[in-house]
């Protein structure tokens, strides 16, 4: 049996290595990608360019401009004369927000009857960035208000301060979270892409008949087809893990051996899904389309972007069937929270059950594909 399996594995590896562009891409692209993407998405939003129209030109308005500029998120880059000019800057994408300080602002704020208004105009087309710009501007102005009130000697001003305590990620940076789930996602993509072509390629090229007349059993065929993607997946994982540690210094609070074991389990599980795709499709192009849809389902339901608990109930249940969901939870658990075996057990068990189930289904569909 080992003999037969060895022959199949050798064939698979030779076929794979014969295509140097594919080898290069599949082995190096993930590490390069996580480096680039990590820099891009992990970077906290900083220096959003804003414009200020200062009609007041008072010490207080200058104080506000300085306060805005001093936030990490904002940088005051333009001083247009009026709103038309500001609109042109927004259209050209040069600034993402405009702060308008009206004439008579300072005297109004000192008077007891007036409540002058600062206007903040945001470019809503940039959604997420606009929301952060707004929060930063409000924060800067709010603290000025508090300061102004204190300076005015109004001791009756009392409020409720919310002090924030961010656990698992002290500085509340997007990076550790984004990079650990990026690691999971890229592993998912590569292994699915490579494994999903497994049987369907043989079928399209007509060589599957030859496989069917060999003495290889179905499970052996699956094991042989699974091994190349598994090796690629593990190499990619190690390279990317290296990048997360060396380049980004993502915390690694749990045990590496545990993470490695869980990754191997996940890779086996995901390979079974991909091989299922390759047994039910007829052409490689069909397989690619299915992989795309599968990847989108993975993105939607895995908690990669939106936490699973925020999905509708039905989708939460369906997400149990998505191996990526469990893997992302495991990676975050081990790397960021330092969770031990017991905390990880539900997701681990889920991966185990899914693997066995998929293996069963794939052997069934495989015999149909061969015949």
């Amino acid at each position: 049996m080992l003999n037969r399996l060895g022959a199949l594995i050798r064939k698979e590896l030779i076929q794979f290595v014969r295509d140097p562009i594919l080898v290069g891409f599949v082995l190096l692209a993930p590490a390069i990608q996580i480096t680039l993407l990590g820099r891009a998405i992990g970077r906290d939003i900083r220096d959003i360019p804003v414009a200020v129209i200062d009609y007041d030109l008072s010490p207080l308005s200058r104080e506000i401009i300085t306060a805005l500029d001093n936030t990490e998120e904002l940088i005051v880059s333009q001083y247009p004369a009026n709103l038309d000019e500001a609109r042109r800057l927004i259209d050209a994408g040069e600034v993402m927000a405009v702060v308008v300080i009206p004439r008579g602002f300072m005297s109004g704020s000192r008077s007891l009857t007036d409540t002058p208004q600062i206007q903040v105009v945001l470019d809503g087309t940039t959604g997420f960035i606009a929301a952060r710009a707004l929060a930063a501007a409000q924060g800067a102005i709010q603290s000025l208000v508090a300061g102004a009130v204190a300076a005015g000697g109004q001791t009756t001003y009392s409020g409720i301060a919310v002090s924030v305590d961010a656990v698992f990620n002290r500085v509340l940076s997007l990076q550790p979270d984004a990079i650990s789930s990026q690691l999971a996602l890229i592993t998912f993509e590569v292994i699915t892409l490579v494994a999903a072509m497994g049987f369907v390629r043989e079928r399209e090229l007509g060589t599957i008949e030859m496989l069917s007349i060999t003495p290889l059993r179905r499970l052996e065929l699956i094991a042989g087809k699974a091994l190349t993607p598994l090796i690629i997946g593990i190499i990619d994982f190690l390279l990317m893990f290296g990048v997360t540690q060396v380049v980004f210094r993502v915390p690694m609070r749990g045990s590496f051996a545990l993470l490695f074991g869980l990754t191997a389990l996940y890779l086996i599980c995901e390979t079974c899904y991909a091989l299922l795709i390759s047994t039910v499709t007829r052409t490689q192009q069909q397989a690619v389309t299915v992989v795309f849809v599968w990847a989108m389902l993975g993105l939607t339901l895995s908690g990669y972007l939106v936490p699973v608990t925020n999905l509708p109930k039905v989708m939460q249940w369906a997400s149990w069937l998505i191996p990526l969901r469990h893997y992302i939870a495991l990676v975050r658990g081990v790397m960021l929270k330092g969770a031990g075996l017991t905390a990880l057990l539900p997701d681990m068990a889920a991966l185990g059950i899914l693997t066995v189930g998929m293996l069963f289904v794939t052997t069934r569909t495989l015999s149909r594909a061969i015949e």
Binding site: Q33, L36, P116, Q117, Q119, G124, A130, V149, Q285
Partner: protein
Amino acid sequence: MSRLRSLQRIAAIIVKEYKHIWFDPGFFFLAVLAPAVLLTLLSYVFSFDVEQFNLAILNQDQSPRSFEYIRELTASGDIRIIELVQNYDEVLALLREGRVDGALVIPPGFAGRLEARESASVNLVVDASDAGTAFQVINSIQQRTQAYAAGLTGMARAPFEVRIRVWFNPNLNSQHSMIPGLMALVLILPSLAIALGLTRERESGTFESLATTPITGSEYLIGKLIVYISMGVIGTLPALGVAAFWFRVPFRGSVLLYLLLTADYLLATMGFCLLVTRFIASQRTATSIVMLALFIPSFFLTGLILPVDKSSLISRAIAFALPATHFIVISRGIALKALSLSDLWYEALVLFGMGLSAVIVSIFLFTKKLN
């Protein structure tokens, strides 16, 4: 005369390709329908508005005031109180299990300080391993708390206030800004189709029969391009339909200009595909390259979600090289800001230049010779 012949041959290729796409449901789906399907899925994935989150409360004060405050927080239903806990250990356990997104600690003496018109404080512990959600939890608790504090009697009047106006997207709906941007991503699928189409002919050997015809390399490529670009433009319509009628994204500019610039964008991405398929021979490799070099980086390195890092030359160069960067500006500009060609000429020209040079180089490199 020979020019007429050449046009005839291009026409023959176009007819052949059209038949091919129309009668192969898989290809038709990938080139025409997949963008709309993918856009629907992605739009759900990339809506960052967290609608509901779970909170634990550690109320050490137990005063009527503190209960009133908690009621105020949960009044609108988007903050759900999962558990009332007794100590910090329970808070940490809940966070570790991921059952709550955050915990609010109301310290003893909370009500007393408020009665005495002093500043009270509460402590918000958030699970920052998902930083995106954490930000929204913090923002929402802070806003609610401020609103509650402002409603208490005996507060000083703030010296000035901030008024927010959001242009183009008044509710800062993340879908309205994401969906026009995502159009750039889903329109990569028709390019994947042309890459698969080109490599399939090599892989399955039908390319050999083409080699025996009088069709020249440039005629073959131009014919293919015309067909796939027009299919991509046709595929844009259902995708726009989904955006406008299902997700209710406003479309304020000219549809005709949009389609014209879509063709421009498709020329750039398909030109890239023509160029890389010159060097590869298998559909497996073609898919990997389109996925890993075009599709995934376009999510993170183009300004779709986060702004391009202007301080780093590498990320600026990559953003410039990815056609999606330019099309995202075009798509958001036309759909949300109603910009015209005079505002977008730079992006349009860059895409056209990229496409044209890639096509010229591919024609130059293209040989019908068989290896």
